[in-house]
Every structure is written in C-alpha cells, then in structure tokens.
C-alpha cells in the first residue's frame, strides 16, 4: 500500500502547536543588538540634511549609519532585462523615491532604545514632484531617474497588428485595473547576522531562497560565498515577497560586521507595509473579438506594469502575463505588449501568482463582457471556447506549450457542484422581486504556469547506521509542509518509516546548493529531486547488499515493509538499511547517500474552474461572498490535505483582491493603507467555507505526474469573485466595476448605469476608460 495520495497529517505540527515555531525573532542570540531603520516620510525628494548627532548620543545606541558609511555599491535591478541604470542604494543616497525608503540604520541595545533614537534623527528634504499613477509615469514628465531620461524600465513589445480583429462580428474593449495589493505574511521581514569566531558570516533569514540570500550577500559585501552561512529558521509565510533579497538584509549583515556584535532586524508591521514588496499593479487594456455565435477569434491585452520606485521582479511579471494571455481558450490570434514604469511607490515583487492572476483576471473579465455584449450565458460562452481535452500538447498564440489538460472536465464538475442552473433560477427570482439583496454568479476558468523558470533543484538522501534517513532539499518551505511531503516520497521509495526520516532545508552549509520555493515549483523539481535521490540510494544499497549477501545484484530485492534487502527467494536472510549504511562507511568511508541535481523537467500547467456566489446589497453596495466552489487540477496529488490547504489559502487571498484589499496612495505619494487597521487584510468573518475538489490529469513532464498547486487558488478565485459582483448588478446596466469591489465602487457603478439609462444613451461596445 503506497502512502502517496493519502491525507497524511503534518510532522511540522506538534512543535508549532505546543511551543510554537522558531522564527528569526525567536532565536536565542546572546548579546544581540537591535537594528532600527529611519525611513522616508515623503515620496520624492532630495535629502538636504541628515542630523544624526542626537541619535548617536541617545542611551543604548551603539551606532548610527547612513549611505556614505556603508561603502557598498547599490543593488542592480536583478533581472538583466530591466534598465540597469535604475539601481537601488542600500540606504538612500541623496534622494528618496518612495515613502518608506530606508535612510538611516540605528544599532542599539534594545528595540526600545532604537525606536527612541529614531525619533531624534532629523532629516530635511527638498521635495520633488511626485508621480504615483503609472499612466502618468508613462508620460515621462516627472522622472524618478533624470539621468536615465525615462520612467520605462522594461518594455516587452512584439508588435501591433491592425488586422488582428479582421473577420470579427463583435469586438469588445475594456480597461481593467488590477490593483496594487500587499502580501501581508503574518511574520514580517526579519534577519539576524553575526560574525563567527572563525570569521565567517552567519546569517539567519526569513526567506524563501537561502542560497540566493547567500549569493547576494556575497556579491554585495565582496565575500566568497563559502564564507557565508545562511540558516533559514521557521518562516511565517512569504507568498513570493520573501523570495527577494532586500536592502535591509544586506545592511543587517553589514552592521553586524561593522559593530562586531550580533545584530537582529525585525521590522514592525507598519514598516513592512512599506518595505516588503507589493503585488500586482497593472493597468490593462483588453480587446476581445469574435462571432455572434460565441466563437472567440482574437484577443489583445496591453499591459502597463507599476514597478514602484526601484525595479524589481514585479517589473518583469508582464512576461508571465503574456505567457498565459489566452488561458484555457482556443483563441487563434492574440497579442500582448507591455511597458513597466517606475513610480514613487513601494517596489512591486512576486506575489502569489506573480503575473498569472493578472492574465486570468483580464481574460475572464473580457469573456464576461463579451458574453454580455452578445447576450449569451457566460458559462455557455466559456464552454464553447475551451481547448478540447484531446488537443494536448497545445501551443498558444503567445508561444506557450501546455503539457496536459482537461478543461471541460473541470468546468463541468465545477458547475455541477455549484448547481449552476439552480443559481441562475434563484437569481432570476430575486431580480423579478426587485429587492435590494441581489445574487451574483461569477465564473473563472484558468490555466496557469508552474515551475516556469529554467532552474532545477537539489535533492539528497543519506542513510545513517541507525537505519534512519536524512533528506536534504534545496526547497524552502514556509508553511507548505515539505518535511511531511518529502518524507512521504522517501518513505514510499525506501520503506523507512516517515518518523525515521529527517528533512533538512534552508541551511547553506548542510544543503550545498538550492534554488528555493516560489512559483509553485517545489514538488515537481524539489520533491522530484528527492525522489530521484531515493531511487539512486536504493541502487547503491542493492550493490552493497549483493556484496554482503554474496549474490548477484539482479537477484537483490528491497522488501519495503521490512525496510531491508534480501536475495529473491530467501527473505529471512536480509540486511537492513542501517547495516548497509554501516557497511558503506566500513568499506570506503563514504556514507550511503545519493545526491541529485535535477534539471528542470520544464513548466507544467495546472488548471481549473471556480464558481463564486455573492450577495450584493444594491442600496449600500455591500458585497458578501456566500459560496465559493473550486475545482482544481494539479496532476497527481501527493497529499490531498496539503493540497487543499494551499487551495484554501489561495482562494482567501484571491477573493480578498476582488472584494476588499487595495494598497492606496494619495496624489502626493502618501500611503493611505500602511497598517493592518487601514489595509483590509481579509478575516474569517468575510469568507465562507469553501467547496473544493480535485481532478487529476497527470503531466507527462515529470515522473511524479505532478503540477504545482500553490498559486492556483488565487489565480482561479479572483476573477470568479470579481465577475460575480458585476453579475449581481448587471441587470441594472452595470458592465464593469474595478477591483476591489468596495461598497463605494459598487454603488457608483449602479448610479452611473442608472444615469446612463435615464439619459437614454445606448450601451456600446466601447468599455468605460
């Protein structure tokens, strides 16, 4: 009986539930000092004066540093295709470009002393004009980098075909805003650094990429990577935003080396809202064209990406948007071009979905607009255009090769689970009754790309003389349960009990190489690497067993329940894993171990359909999500308990973007939602329990048949909830409402539709700008 595919409870839980996880802020670091940053309070300005004298003299202060003290080069944008002149100083260098940018670093004996000293720092600014809206930034009137001469940090232009919509009886256009959101992991950013007696730098990081942290520190500080030891303790969530290495991480390391004592940086939430990178931030212009019978022939999406003040990974995400532009639909012709611009705001980074939710959101909104235009049920329109199950592998107009899929299967199941026809009947009844509580039904069919980067992953399995196994993985879990999942894979291969398998991650001394956890890659490369290492360890063990049992390797059998090897036909004479491990040591000194550097098997494409049901109060604009149905397909599911958990978390974040969350700025670049009271991070009271199911269409691309699941919930849910809200008031003439569908936006949309109909203007195919 294989354990794979079972709802195995997590090994991570007992400690987390009793004494709690050990996060960077919990580490016992004798003599550790506290690092506090002083941050910019204006969005754009030259620094005229920094007065640190009072702060330096404050009680408990060990050191106060600004840019010129560091002597470190600025961080380059990171991605080679970003404008390389838009570098980021580790502490502001003469100019600040967004509210929250770090200017001064204070090392003090306690966090309290640091906070007190921070109040004594005086900074005078000479304000500069501010640009917040990416549409304004595109005009290149207010420049963040005058010497560069443009705000455009990354253009992805593949040409504009004026004949794209030739032959289309209907073309619908719509501008869609995919708003800036904040990732909000419950643990804010944190790092601690100290210099070991042997001179090596020890760095503890709340990260998704330990080896990336090591290499970035090495480059920045001018150290050999071997002189840096990064350890990842428990990490309280990341969602993509902790896959970036931040200026503050490097400054933490620098401070520890400068003062010669351990230094810990643990940011407050208010800081994190302005320091941890933001997500999304696209202005999208879509055009969708086809025939009146519902066949979609062509699709265009023009993307304007808000990069924030310093281009980071967020600036290149339009590439992923382009990759998934046409989604699950068989659309013959498509175009996606983009520009990424800098603005005086927090830099954008990867956030759950990273470019793919944006693609799906735009397309699914476009589909509903098209359905509305031709008077077709949105479900019928989708079904008509889904790529057929026998069409795989399938290449999209933007050049993406889908591995496998059964979009119709997921679609039909989702509608069946939702009771779609019944929902439409209830909606009709409520509309006829004309009350203020109206029902909205929203659909979203999505496909997304997981493991989209070319890097592979490291996995190793070692057996100890006591018969237990040690697994080393290059992945970097922060809630996903890799220790449970990888030990399931290894246990299934070796027959060693799960509780006798130790999994190590995030320690660059113990795990020699690794890429990390992001982009829903971990199982298909990281798990696959560990699985492969287990298979190779079995081969080595068989050779050892053959030798010990004086038999032919071909006659050696692994008896998994017994966790031992024997000669076929004589199971009573066996050698257990521990004995073989000892034998390996005795023979040549090498442990019984296999290391694998698995090349990436390529991207895989999970998919699904979500159905959301909302109740909208047409008098107050209030939106309530009453049901959410999700059918997701991530190929072969290793542990349904863990996979469901990923879907649940994804749905919550996706629904939150649709209905509630939005990071706002005023025109002067002052953030308006920079703490957990003002930023509406979603709670249990705003969500229902979810109705979820998996279909399993394995991928041929990796031996586990597995695709990623981590971001699917988010990608599938946002458009479903968004479409549901618009659907709820569509009968009042509303065609589109931008996210987040706050009470005000819903109410304004209803008012506008009412005035339009009273004014007698016909609804047009041109969407509102």
């Amino acid at each position: 009986m294989s354990i794979l595919g079972n709802r195995v409870l997590r090994r991570e839980d007992p400690k987390l539930l009793t004494s709690g996880g050990t996060y960077v802020g919990d580490l016992d670091l004798p003599g550790v000092l506290s690092l506090t940053f002083v941050r910019a309070t204006i969005a754009h300005g030259r620094i005229e004066r920094i007065d640190l004298e009072e702060a330096k003299a404050a009680p408990g202060v060990v050191g106060v540093f600004s840019h010129d003290d560091l002597g470190l080069a600025p961080m380059p944008p990171g991605m080679p295709f970003l404008n390389q002149e838009m570098t980021r100083p580790l502490l502001a260098d003469g100019v600040v470009r967004y509210v929250g940018e770090a200017i001064v670093a204070i090392v003090a004996e306690t966090p309290g002393a640091g906070a007190d000293a921070a109040e004594l720092v005086v900074i005078d600014y000479d304000p500069l004009p501010v640009v917040v809206d990416p549409l304004d930034a595109l005009k290149d009137e207010v420049l963040l980098y005058p010497q560069v001469g443009t705000n455009n940090c990354f253009a992805l232009q593949f040409g504009h075909d004026d004949t794209l919509f030739e032959g289309c009886e209907v073309v619908v256009r719509q501008r869609i805003l995919n708003q800036r959101v904040a990732p909000c992991p419950l643990e804010t950013r944190a790092a601690a650094a100290l210099v070991e007696p042997d001179g090596r730098l020890m760095f503890y990081s709340s990260t998704q990429t330990a080896h990336g942290v090591r290499d970035t520190l090495a480059t920045s500080l001018g150290l050999e990577p071997a002189l840096i030891h990064v350890i990842t303790p428990d990490v309280g969530g990341g969602f993509g935003a902790k896959a970036s290495v931040y200026a503050e991480d490097i400054v933490t390391a620098w401070c520890a080396r400068k003062v010669g004592q351990p230094v810990r940086w643990s940011e407050t939430r208010s800081e994190s809202m302005l320091g941890l990178g933001h997500g999304r931030g696209q202005v999208q212009d879509v055009e969708i064209g086809g025939l009146r019978d519902g066949r979609i022939l062509a699709y265009r999406i023009d993307v304007l990406q808000d990069s924030g003040a310093y281009p980071a990974i967020g600036a290149v995400l339009p590439f992923m948007t382009r990759t998934m532009a046409t989604g699950v639909y068989d659309i013959a012709r498509a175009e996606c071009n983009s520009n990424s611009v800098v603005t005086n705001t927090v830099p954008t980074v990867a956030y759950r979905g990273a470019g793919r939710p944006e693609a799906t959101s735009a397309l699914e909104r476009a589909m509903d607009c098209y359905a509305s235009e031709i008077g077709m049920d949105p479900a019928e329109l989708r079904r008509k255009n889904l790529i057929a199950a026998d069409a795989f592998p399938y290449t999209t107009p933007t050049g993406t090769d889908y591995d496998s899929g059964n979009y119709v299967g997921a679609f039909d199941l989702a509608l069946e689970m939702a009771g779609y026809e019944q929902l439409r009947s209830e909606q009709q009844a409520r509309r006829a009754a004309g009350g203020s509580r109206q029902l909205g039904i929203g659909l979203s069919s999505y496909v997304e790309i997981t493991n989209g980067i070319p890097e592979g992953e490291y996995g190793a399995v070692e057996i100890r003389p006591n018969g237990k196994a040690i697994v080393r993985t290059g992945t970097s879990p922060h809630g996903q349960g890799h220790h449970t999942a990888w030990s399931m894979l290894v246990s299934d291969q070796l027959g060693i009990a799960i509780d006798d398998i130790e999994v190590i991650h995030g320690d660059t001394d113990l795990v020699p190489r690794g890429v990390g956890t992001f982009g829903s890659r971990s199982l298909q490369v990281g798990g696959a690497a560990v699985n492969q290492a287990a298979i190779e360890v079995i081969d080595k063990a068989r050779t050892l067993a053959a030798d010990l049992l004086e038999a032919d390797v071909a006659d050696i059998v692994l008896d998994k329940p017994a966790a031992a090897f024997h000669v076929a036909g004589t199971p009573a004479i066996s050698r257990g894993w521990g004995e073989l491990a000892q034998a390996s040591l005795d023979q040549g000194g090498a442990p019984l171990m296999a290391e694998v550097d698995l090349s990436s098997p390529g991207a895989s494409f999970p998919f699904g359909t979500h159905v959301a049901v909302v109740e909208v109060d047409t008098e107050t604009g209030n939106v309530e999500l009453v049901r959410h149905v999700a059918v997701d397909d991530a190929g072969r599911i290793l542990n349904p308990l863990l996979a469901e958990g990923q879907v649940h978390g994804g749905i919550a974040q996706g629904a939150a973007q649709a209905m509630l969350e939005e990071f706002s700025y005023d025109a002067a670049g002052n953030p308006l939602t920079a703490n957990f009271a003002d930023y509406s991070i979603i709670s249990a009271a705003e969500l229902p329990s979810f109705e979820t199911a998996f279909t399993e269409t394995p991928t041929p691309r990796n031996p586990l048949g597995a695709k990623g699941i981590g971001e699917s919930g988010t990608i599938g849910s946002t458009p479903a909830v968004h479409n549901a809200v618009v659907d709820a008031v569509a009968h009042l003439g509303v065609r589109h409402i931008d996210m987040a569908t706050t009470p005000e936006r819903v109410w304004q949309a209803i008012q506008a539709a009412r005035s339009a109909s009273e004014g007698g203007s016909a609804t047009s195919t041109e969407g509102a700008a």
């Binding site: 309290g112 906070a115 008098e619 107050t620 308006l672 009470p743």
Partner: protein, 276 residues
C-alpha cells in the same frame, strides 16, 4: 510598536486618581482598558509622560438599576455590558451593540467609559447613548456633575470632561420594551463603521432617538430625523433628513456623497426596525 517611556502609577481610589490628575495636569493620561490609548501610544501618536492606571478600581465596574435608568460604571467592559442580564432586559440595543464592538479580545478589555470619553465619532457606543438620551456622571475634586450625552461631544476627540475630572458613570434611560434598530456598514467585521445608525423608539408618541456613527466629526444625533418622526413622518421620509445639518466629509472608505447616501439608507433601515 514600542511606546515612548512614561511614568506609571496605579490609582487605588477615585480620590487618588483626581489627586494625580491635579498633580500632573496635561502630562497625565488615564489608562482604563487601554484599547483607545495604547494603540495610539504604540504608534507614538500619543506620548503622555504619566499613565494613571485606573483599571483596578472595582468600584467603577458595575451595572445597577437606577429606577428609570440603568447605571453603568465607566470601567465596565464591553463584554460585561453585552452579557449583563439587566442590560439585556432594559437596554437590548446596548447589549447588542456592545457585543459587536471590535472582536472578543477587545471586548474583554475595552470599557464603556473609555470608549465614550475618547469621543471618536466612529465609535458605536456614543451614538447609542445619544439615541437613548443618556447622561454621563463626571467626578471632579470638588463636585460631581451630570452632563447630557447630547452636550458631551464638543469637537473631534474633544469632550466635556475637564482636565481634573473623570467619567465615572453612564446613565441610560430604560427602553421599556421600545423598538430599536442598529445598522452598520463596515469593510471587514473588525473595522470601524464606514457609517452606522442607531434608532430607538423612546415612547409610544412618535418620539425616537437616532444616533449616527462616523457621519461628521463628532458623535451626533440626527435631530432632523427625530423631528420628522415626531411630526408623523414614516421611516423613509424621515430618513431623507438624515444628513441634514451635519458637515459630511469623505475619507478612504466613502466619499462625502456616498456617506450622505449611506446615512440616509442606514437611518431608514434602523428606523424601520425601531418603528415596526
């Protein structure tokens, strides 16, 4: 996250509290449940030099029968108010509203006196007290006086409590079975109201009290609405007056126009329940 330093004194009696207020003047702030003051101090938006902790003054935590009113000690927590059998019987609107303030953890610590003395127009309880026509007992070094809720809120976060006084008791006239309605629109359950309305039927003669939450810069009564009902208007007609005479501004969650509209809608709904 970490407040500025301060001197901490625990008051053993109301008398001692008044002495301390007199001694320290502006430099001192009272600490009751701390759920209005400590959040401000943690963001360093308030940095009092002295905190006078009155949280252990058990003599200020009570719910008592005052005849035609219910007397509630200022240090009674929202949780205690929401669970009080006397309040459930005589002031059901208060029991309901108190049970919805913030979240359970906040309700275990936040006090009715602290909330009212803070004077935030976005707080729920001041509007309830206004609708009920309540009064507040203020105790000073030489006298104890009673101030009508309607005269208590002087400006944004500014109340009639003098620097040398403390709010000791809230007196709310019993509802005598009168109907009531409470409507609040929030973004999330734990958030402050975008707009809220409380309506209470005060007697059988068309007299209603209507309190507004987060409309304008002070907790306010919708006097025009009350007058309209008194002269025979129904809920819808009266509610059209809801934003009359109040300076309504916009914020992140509602433009002025939307806020006016919400005020009318929520007042109508609250009134409809109160008058049913």
């Amino acid at each position: 996250m970490i407040p500025s330093s301060f001197e901490y004194v625990r008051a053993g009696s109301i008398e001692q509290t008044l002495d301390l207020l007199n001694e320290h003047g502006d430099a001192a702030k009272l600490l009751a449940g701390g759920h209005s003051l400590l959040p401000l101090m943690k963001l360093r938006l308030a940095s009092p030099e002295v905190l006078v902790d009155i949280g252990r003054l058990a003599e200020l935590a009570y719910v008592g029968d005052g005849g035609d009113y219910v007397a509630i000690g200022a240090l009674t927590t929202h949780d205690e108010v929401s669970r009080s059998p006397l309040i459930a019987a005589e002031l059901p609107v208060l029991a309901h509203v108190a049970g919805q303030i913030g979240d359970p953890q906040v309700r275990h610590r936040g006090t009715i006196g602290g909330s009212i003395a803070h004077g935030d127009p976005a707080s729920d309880l001041p509007a309830v007290a206004l609708a009920l026509g309540g009064t507040y007992v203020l105790t000073g070094p030489s006298e104890t006086r009673e101030v009508r809720a309607a005269a208590f809120h002087l400006g944004f976060l500014e109340t009639a409590v003098a620097p040398d006084e403390i709010l000791t008791e809230i007196r709310l006239p019993k509802m005598a079975g009168g109907g009531w309605g409470f409507e609040k629109l929030t973004k999330r359950a734990q958030d402050w109201a975008i707009v809220g309305a409380v309506a209470v039927r005060l007697d059988g003669n068309g007299s209603v009290g209507v309190g507004l939450i987060n409309v304008g810069s002070v907790p306010a009564r919708a006097l025009s609405v009350e007058a309209a009902v008194a002269s025979g208007a129904g809920a819808a007609e009266a509610a059209a007056q809801a934003d009359t005479g109040i300076e309504v501004t916009g914020d992140l969650n509602a433009s002025a126009a939307f806020r006016r509209h919400l005020t009318r809608v929520l007042v109508e709904r609250a009134l409809a329940k109160a008058l049913a």
